[in-house]
Symmetry: C2
Amino acid sequence: MAADSEVYVLGGYQTDFGRNWSKENKHFSALMREVVLGALERTDIAPEEVESAHVGNFAAELYCMQGHLGAFFTEVHPAFSGLPTGRHEAACASGSIALLAASAEIEAGRYDLQAVVGVEQMKTVSAAEGGAFLGTAAWYSEEADGIDFPFPKLFGRLGDEYDARYGLDDEYLAEISKINYANAKLNPNAQTRTWYMNKDHALCRSDDNPAVGGRIRIADCSQVTDGAVCVFLASRAYAEKYARGMGKRLEDIPRIKGWGHNTARLRFSDKVAESLENEYVLPHVRSTITSAMKRAGIADVNGIDAIETHDCFTTSEYMAIDHFGITAPGESWKAVEAGWLEIDGKHPINPSGGLIGAGHPVGATGVRQLLDGCLQVTGQAGDYQVEGAKNVQTLNIGGSGTTSVSFVIGV
Amino acid sequence: MAADSEVYVLGGYQTDFGRNWSKENKHFSALMREVVLGALERTDIAPEEVESAHVGNFAAELYCMQGHLGAFFTEVHPAFSGLPTGRHEAACASGSIALLAASAEIEAGRYDLQAVVGVEQMKTVSAAEGGAFLGTAAWYSEEADGIDFPFPKLFGRLGDEYDARYGLDDEYLAEISKINYANAKLNPNAQTRTWYMNKDHALCRSDDNPAVGGRIRIADCSQVTDGAVCVFLASRAYAEKYARGMGKRLEDIPRIKGWGHNTARLRFSDKVAESLENEYVLPHVRSTITSAMKRAGIADVNGIDAIETHDCFTTSEYMAIDHFGITAPGESWKAVEAGWLEIDGKHPINPSGGLIGAGHPVGATGVRQLLDGCLQVTGQAGDYQVEGAKNVQTLNIGGSGTTSVSFVIGV
C-alpha cells in the first residue's frame, strides 16, 4: 500500500452505553455533542484542525423524526460551520460505511483529518415499535411487515441453517452470551456491566428468558441502546505531525491496515439458497473478512490478536467463528468448548462485551468496534485489555448478513 | 489534477418523473431496477463490469418504511450479488453525497467502475404528511414540528432576507417559475411537461395559486416526485478502455472536473445571523460553487455554459443567480430581466426544467443534475440542448441552504 493511502486513527470517545438519553430528556444532538467534544479533548486536537465529518446512523428518521444527520456536526462547535459533512447508512453496518467513506476521501487526498461519528438514539419508542423499525434493515414488506420482532426470527433461522447443515447445540449459543456478558463487566462503558447473567440463565427455557424468535431467546439478543462514538481518521502526513506534537512515534499510532466490504442478497432465504453449495453459510461475509486480512497482509486469523464482531444475536457470533477461520466451517462449537474466545484465550472475541454485552446503538456499532480496536492495539483497553494485542479485526453486519464490513486495525 | 484522480461519467438513465409508482402499485425497488438496467443498456456496459454501487436517498424510512437502500442494488441482477454497496444522505443533497463518496473511492483507486443511483418514491403519502417528512431535512423539533409545510416557509424567509437586504420584487420569482416550466416542456422526462403555466399565473394571488408559506405560492414550489437516476462513474483507466470499445476518444467522455461541498449551520435563523456581515446571504453556498470552479480550473461563471441548480423554490434559484456570480450580490433580478437564464441566454439555468419543472425526487436530484450535465456536454440533450455546451455546473442543496454540493462536468 502506498504511503499516501495509509489511514491512521488518532483516537476517539464513546458515550456510556448504559445511559437512556430520552429519560435524560436529551435530543440525539446531545449525544453527538458529547462524543465530538470528548474526542477532541482525549486526542488533544483543536476543532479548527478538523476538515470534514461523516456520520453513521441507521434510522433517526424513525426513532427521532430527523434526517440530515451530517449537518448536526456543524452545531457542535463554531469552528465547524461550513465543513463538508454527510450521513451514511447500511442498516447495522452504517458506522462502518461512514468509516469507509471517510477513509476513501483521505486516500484520495481530499482531506487530512476527518471526524467520523456513529450515533443512534433508540430508547425513544417501545420495544415492539423499535423491533418494527429494525425490520427496515431487512426487506420490510417481504420479511418484516406484520411480524413481531422480525430480526430475532431471521437470526433464529441462521441458527436453524447451521443446525441443518452441521448440527447446533444451543448450549454453545448460551456460552457465547455468557462470555459477552462477562467481558462487559470489565468495560466501564458497557450497557450490561451491572446485569446478572450466567450460562444456566442463558439456557433457561422459562419466562425468565422468553423466546422472541425461533431458537432466539432474550439472552441471545444484543441490546437496545442509546449511544454514540467519535473517532478521528488522518492521512499519514497529518498523523506524522500529530505524533511529533504528542511526543509519540508514528509507529505508535494505530492504522487501518485493511478493509473488506460486500453486500449479499437482501432476503435471508435468498442468501441461504445461494450458499447451499458453499462450505460457508454466508460466503459474502467470509469474503469480507478475508479481503480485509489480505489488504492488511495477514495470512489468516492466527495473525489477528483479537476480534470485535457483530453479535447482534448469539447465532451471528457463532457464524463469525468459522467465517473468521478460527475453526473449519460448521465447527464453531469447538472454539467455544476449547475456551478460545475468552479474553485470555487463543482467539479472543468481543473483549468489549460486543453487542450483547456492551450494547448496540445501531449506527454507532461499527465505529465503536474500530475505537475498541484502537484501544486494544495501544494498550489502553483497561480491564478488558487483550495482553499484547497488535492487530484487531472487526466485523460489522447490516441486515440478516446482507452488508458486511471488516477492518484490520493495528500498530 | 493527477490522471489517476480523474473521474469520468460514462452515461446513465432517468425514469420519467411524471410517473406515479404507487398508482402503478410498484415498490421503489422497481424504480431502482428500471434505472440500473436502463443505464446498463444505454451505456452498453455488462453487469459483470460493475464493481461497487452507491445509493443516494433521503427518507425511504418514512416514505416507504425501508432502510438499507444499498442492498436493493444487489437485487437488480444476479451478477451484483456480493458487490460493496452503501446509502448516503444529506437531505435533498443526498444524490450528490453519493456521487462524492463514489468518486472518492475511484480517486483512491479502490474501484474502476461504480454505479450511483439516486432514488426517491414520495407519492406514497398525502401532501401534508410528505411536508412533515421533508421537515426532517431541517432541525425538525425546532423548525418543523407542528408546522404545516415547513420548507416553503423556510424558503419564503430566504426571499424575505433578500427583500430586507437588497429588495425583491416577486415578479422576478414568477419569471423564474415560468422559465423552468417552459424548459420542462422540452424535456421528455419532466414531470410538468404537459402542465400549463405562464407568468401571470405564477403571479396570481388567488386560490388558483395559493400561498403555502409566506411569499411562497404553489407556483414557486418544486414538485413532489417519484423518480430515480443511475449514472456510471469510472477511473481514467476504465474510461480509456470504454472509449476504445465504443469507438470514441477519451476526450469525448464527460469528466467531473471539479467539486465543492460545504455544510452551514442547520437552522435558517443561524445561517442568516452568520451572514449578516457577508455580501452573500448564504456564504457557504458561495464557497461550494467557487470551490468546484477552482478545482475545475475555471475562473468564473463565464467559463460555465449552463447551470443545473437546486430550485426547490423560486427563492433558491434567485439566490443561486448571484451566488454563481452571474450578477453582483443582491442583483439577481438583473439576470432575470435581461433574459440571461433562458436556454439560449447568456447564462442558461435549468435547461432541464429544474426541480420546479422537471421534478424533485429528493434523493435522485443531485444525480439527475449530473446526468443532465453529461447529456448537455455531449450534445445529447435533445430539445433542451444548450448549443455548444462544454462545461455544465450543478448546485444541489440539502435543507434550508445547509448542505451544498456542486460539480463541474465537462468534456
